[in-house]
Symmetry: C2
Subunit: 157 residues, 2 copies
Amino acid sequence: MRQDNRLPRVLHALLHLDGMKDPATSDQLAEMLNTNAAVVRRTMAGLRDQGILTSIKGHGGGWQLARPLDEITLAEIYKALGAPTLFALGCGDEDSQCLMEKAANTATARALEMASQTFIQVLSSVTMADLADDFELRMKELGLTPEDFAYEGTGQH
Amino acid sequence: MRQDNRLPRVLHALLHLDGMKDPATSDQLAEMLNTNAAVVRRTMAGLRDQGILTSIKGHGGGWQLARPLDEITLAEIYKALGAPTLFALGCGDEDSQCLMEKAANTATARALEMASQTFIQVLSSVTMADLADDFELRMKELGLTPEDFAYEGTGQH
DNA sequence: GAATCACGTAACATTAAAAGTTACATGATT
DNA sequence: AATCATGTAACTTTTAATGTTACGTGATTC
């Protein structure tokens, strides 16, 4: 299949949302993420259901953070996305009859399982606040200020 | 993309090859692996180039192990396959301009990198002989003998 | 209360890479 | 010389994310 970029995309979106006082519309986020509004809604739906984001309909509506960044771990976000398939590699047919195939599949599955645990463990140890810190560091390194990253919205609602 | 099952498939094939004294043709292996000969040749090409397998053309030819199983680690096999993409997850655009996107991508990439290291590490710690042992254990648990797994070839060449 | 805005969602097209398939060239054996 | 088996190219199929379009529903504004 195609590569699944939902996780980094959502992380990116959340960082932008943190810097805004008004809700951001799906269209605004779509522009930031170089995609379109339907993809944004579809992707963020899980985060809303999980209580990470709030969505507001109607005039002045859009997406907002439901919690401060330091109370959101990357693992929680990954889970909110439905914990999508991590690996492009498979471990063969689940219920094969051949015992040699079973040995081969089990060995592959074990390596994948260990890797998966590492992945989740790393995600669990990082919060969105850590990403915000990383962003600020990068900004200072370039001698920029937060104003350079404020979203240029219409301000009308 | 579709799932990549080359690794478990090749492991399976090597276990079968270990039990045979004559070379196995691509057609024979294809039958064991539930695929066809061209896929077998394409998949095993890397293992031949890496000196794990030998391929012999012509009458009585086919595929053979080039080394004993305890001198072949799973990591070496994975590398011989070209170290195919491990993850279905991507970490976003490599050279994005947005610093927030960079922070998001970097965090994702870090988690993937750690997971990848774990994967390789586990593969490095397992040899094909370990898989053969696992197979024998499964066989004994079912009260079967090696003869039950000998390939029923034509014997003609 | 009508118009507008923005999310919610369904349906369909696009995309990318492994896997499946077919065909034929090359080399080895009989 | 005929046959067997690999080597390889070209093309089709498969699968799930992504892109796209369209329309329903709820909230706000005037």
